[in-house]
């Protein structure tokens, strides 16, 4: 298979950047999207040109490192799939493919397709945890937890923190990411103690980082590789409302 790639190249955070055309030739359908980029990069290095910088690590859809907007869609538009698990057999021979980084004010581009997503870490640092120290915890079975709640908590906890939700959102909102953590911990009895404080702190940090607001278009849910449900945002809003009424800061 052969493709024409239009790829965002940007030297560093200060560079204006722009789209550059490349030919991807001799691609086989069993290659993953990132392996296709590997092939293009090997060709560039051989010619003495700098390869296209992009983030990836586990390449099995769980670490959340890869972050490409492919033909305008975060992770390329195959439902429940990260870019590293997207394979070239889903493309048409001869097709033109555009590749861009996540675009959001809170995720500045570092180089080419690599962005700085540390804003997500700072949101977790603000309150995305249960405040227990190591040691001195009760026996794991001392606290029975409803299987229904536990499974629902796991649905939210499956978030890989890739940021596709932000990239897809016209407001660059991080509400799906924040709601997943607030729900994961808030659905469990261990997480009840500091539930109000957690949601207040995480939302404050989210706003401080420059993420936009949610207007419930659902584009985040559509691109989420772990199919995190939009209904968690409703839960986040409810929890946040309660914390406001209680005057928690």
């Amino acid at each position: 298979m052969n493709f024409t790639l239009k790829v965002w190249r940007q030297k560093n955070a200060k560079d204006a950047g722009g789209m550059v055309d490349y030919a991807a030739t001799g691609i086989i359908p069993d290659m993953s999207f990132l392996e296709m980029l590997d092939v293009v990069n090997e060709g560039l290095i051989a010619k003495g040109e700098e390869p296209i910088a992009f983030d990836s690590d586990c390449r099995e859809g769980i670490c959340g490192t890869c972050s490409l907007v492919i033909n305008g869609v975060a992770h390329g538009g195959q439902r429940g799939t990260t870019a590293c698990q997207l394979h070239m057999r889903h493309f048409t021979d001869g097709q033109t493919i555009t590749i861009e980084p996540w675009r959001a004010r809170a995720f500045p581009v570092l180089r080419d397709l690599v962005t700085d997503r540390s804003a997500f870490d700072r949101i977790i640092e603000a309150g995305g945890f249960i405040s227990v120290n190591t040691g001195g915890t009760p026996d794991a079975n001392a606290l029975p937890i409803s299987k229904v709640d536990s499974d629902r908590s796991m649905d939210a906890a499956a978030c890989i923190g890739c940021g596709a939700c932000v990239a897809a959102c016209k407001n660059a909102s991080a509400m799906l990411f924040v709601s997943a953590k607030v729900s994961h911990l808030g659905l469990l009895p261990q997480g009840q103690v500091e539930k109000d404080r957690r949601v207040a702190k995480m939302v404050a940090q989210m706003d401080a980082e420059g993420f936009g607001n949610c207007t419930v278009t659902g584009s985040c849910e559509a691109v989420c590789p772990k199919e995190i449900s939009l209904s968690f945002i409703a839960r986040l809003n409810r929890d946040y409302g309660v914390s406001l009424l209680k005057g928690v800061k």
């Binding site: 030297k11 086989i28 069993d30 993953s32 392996e35 590997d38 092939v39 090997e42 560039l44 290095i45 051989a46 003495g48 700098e50 390869p51 990836s56 690590d57 586990c58 390449r59 099995e60 769980i62 670490c63 959340g64 698990q85 394979h87 057999r89 570092l110 180089r111 690599v114 700085d116 997503r117 540390s118 997500f120 870490d121 977790i124 640092e125 309150g127 995305g128 945890f129 249960i130 227990v132 120290n133 190591t134 040691g135 915890t137 009760p138 026996d139 794991a140 029975p144 937890i145 409803s146 299987k147 536990s150 499974d151 908590s153 796991m154 906890a157 890989i160 923190g161 261990q190 997480g191």
Partner: protein, 637 residues
């Protein structure tokens, strides 16, 4: 120098308690005076950094990924073992200890493994308190399953994402400490060297992967939790970034490297589809509960699998191991598949694959039941291969998965360089020659949550080293050395890419030092690796510059280390003239092809001392003394 494992005296079951009492403490008000550097933020690194900060130490944590949440611990699927005995099926600390020692083919240190089994129960308590959503029963209590052939159900799990959930627990604990200002986190930062002052580890040199800036960081102790070296084979189930750089460069500074030849090959991975392949994907071993493994009897078979009649198929695991059949252990199943492919019977592209067939299971149980049990795995297989495994058999092939070898550490997890501690997959201590399923997560968290926080205090209370800062000559020397190496890599300006060297090294290692090793193959590898290394330093092409984000340069540094480390791995494999666990030497096997251990001559840990680029490494032996268990031979016939 002689190796002292510092194993406490007394009965096995009381060693850890006794040691905890005997160790000296650091006064709570004095803890803030001690700086600790933690390199790596996986299960071991994140749990250690968080726990040390909670105690009051001043912690700096470094990872090469863009966030500490991305470490490769996140990809572990199966589960985590703990001797809780919740199912009331006869499990105990002693049984978990014994299973782990036996599974490791009697090449692990008894006292360490017993401690691991002891603290395993605390890990589950800790994780539940943090909000890890383990699977539960309708009554609200935790669910358990049996894993990897264990006779008791002691594995806790969170769907197929146990590693992810445990890592997020540790990550959140770490984030809490970062938010409180107790940990300074340095993501996108790669460790390039250890700084040793007066014989003690006192800091590290790192490169900022965004700006290229090289800087030094001083501390009172350094903790490496930097994972395994599976990527020396280029293709493995490890993440792309996994590397040996931290532990190898520590080895060059005096931290002996133990048992590098103990590498684990996992039998159920998706086969390589072509030369472009960048990594291999593991599929849960549970598939072998219902799938049947076979190859065609005829070489060069060109028919579709469903057109090959029963009597022209060789169900080789069922034939060779009638009592275990398709459930034979990892190392045995892997070798049998390789043998079939070596005989020209392999299926799929390049003939490197065997069938894992669910046709019988679908006939017996119905497609709905098979879908219920393995649906997510069948989906994953289809995503990668584009094939529907309900219609045609899956193709599987073994792949490198975990490395049991690592930096030699004593009972306190301290290396041969005082003040340098090594945790998790990066050390060698608990899995012997073969790791059991669901034990890696247990060990990483045991080291970080429940072992290091005790032993590091004893080091501070007894070592009493003066404070140093990065102005010290040793720091300057290390920074200069790191910068010179970068400059050298950028200046070669040859013709071959980093990946082409890495791929060639990996292929060589897989063929000569992979699932089956022989004196001849190892000697050939030992001849070929220095040649490849020499070519690397003459003909490498690295693009770009130092002072920017340069992934080509990052990869070059890592591959340079793999090219040195690979030689040690082969040398260790050549020296160990026996077969045990993940190390199979074709010369040492029983008449029916099973691993033949030599307890009389090889019941020791091989710890290698680096002596310089032009000198052979020196082997030090730590004898393995079994006070409690009786060494036996594994049999799966």
């Amino acid at each position: 120098m002689s190796l002292d494992a510092k194993i406490p005296s007394g009965p096995l079951a009381q060693k850890w308690d006794k040691h905890k009492f005997d160790m000296k403490l650091v006064n709570p008000a004095n803890k803030r005076k001690f700086d600790v550097i933690v390199v790596g933020s996986g299960l071991a690194g994140a749990s250690a950094a968080a726990s040390l900060a909670e105690l009051g130490y001043k912690v700096s944590c470094f990872c090469f990924q863009d966030s500490p949440r991305r470490a490769h611990s996140i990809a572990a699927q199966g589960g985590i073992n703990a001797a809780k005995n919740y199912p009331n099926d006869g499990d105990s600390v002693y049984r978990l200890f014994y299973d782990t020692i036996k599974g490791g083919d009697f090449r692990a240190r008894e006292a360490n493994v017993y401690r691991l089994a002891q603290v395993s129960a605390n890990i589950i308590d800790q994780c539940v308190a943090q909000g890890v959503p383990f699977a539960r029963e309708y009554g609200g209590l935790l669910a358990n399953r049996s894993f990897g052939g264990a006779q008791v159900s002691r594995t806790f799990y969170a769907r197929g994402q146990t590693g992810q959930q445990l890592l997020l627990g540790a990550y959140q604990a770490l984030c809490r400490q970062i938010g409180l200002g107790a940990v300074k986190m340095h993501p996108r930062t790669e460790m390039l060297d250890i700084v040793v002052v007066d014989g003690h580890a006192r800091g590290i040199v790192v490169r900022d992967l965004v700006t290229g800036e090289v800087s030094a960081h001083a501390a009172d102790a350094v903790v490496l939790a930097t994972g395994g070296y599976g990527n020396v084979f280029f293709l493995s189930t490890n993440a792309r970034g996994c590397n040996v750089t931290a532990t190898w460069r520590a080895c060059k500074k005096g931290a002996f490297f133990a048992n590098p030849c103990y590498t684990q090959i996992h039998p159920t991975c998706i086969p390589v589809s072509g030369d472009h392949q960048s990594k291999l994907t593991l599929m849960s071993e549970s598939l072998r509960n219902d799938g049947r493994v076979w190859v065609p009897k005829k070489k060069g078979e060109s028919r579709r699998p469903d057109q090959i009649p029963e009597d022209e198929r060789d169900y080789f695991l069922e034939r060779k191991y009638p009592s275990f059949g398709n459930l034979a252990p990892r190392d045995i199943s892997s070798r049998a598949a390789k043998e079939a492919c070596d005989n020209g019977l392999g299926v799929g592209p390049g003939g490197l694959g065997v069938y894992l067939d669910f046709a019988d299971a679908i006939k017996r149980l119905g497609e709905a039941t098979v879908r219920e049990r393995y649906g997510n795995l069948f989906d994953m297989y289809e995503k990668i291969t584009g094939e529907n495994a309900y219609r045609a058999p899956m193709r599987i092939y073994p792949a490198v998965h975990y490395t049991m070898g690592g930096t030699w550490v004593d009972y306190n997890l301290m290396s041969t360089v005082p003040g340098l501690f090594v945790l998790g997959e990066a050390n060698f201590s608990d899995h012997g020659a073969n790791r059991l399923g669901a034990s890696a997560l247990m060990q990483g968290l045991a080291d970080g949550y429940f072992v290091l926080p005790y032993t590091i205090g004893n080091y501070f209370a007894t070592a009493k080293q003066p404070k140093v800062n990065t102005g010290h000559a040793e720091f300057k020397k290390a920074v200069d050395g790191a910068q010179a190496l970068t400059k050298k890599l950028l200046g070669i300006n040859g013709k071959r890419t980093v990946t082409s060297f890495h791929r060639e090294l990996g292929k060589l290692m897989w063929e000569k030092c992979g699932m089956a090793r022989s004196e001849a193959s190892l000697k050939e590898a030992l001849k070929r690796i220095p040649e490849l290394r020499a070519e690397f330093w003459k003909n490498l092409k690295v693009t770009g510059e130092n002072n920017s984000l340069n992934q080509d340069l990052e990869a070059a540094g890592r591959v340079a280390d793999f090219l040195e480390f690979a030689e040690l791995l082969c040398l260790d494999a050549l020296t160990r003239k026996e077969s045990c666990g993940g190390h199979f030497r074709v010369e040492y096997q029983t008449p029916d092809g099973e691993a033949l251990r030599d307890d009389e001559h090889y019941s020791y840990v091989s710890a290698w001392e680096y002596r310089g680029p032009d000198q052979p490494p020196v082997l030090h032996k730590e004898p393995l003394v079994y006070e409690e268990v009786h060494m036996s031979t594994r049999s799966y016939k």
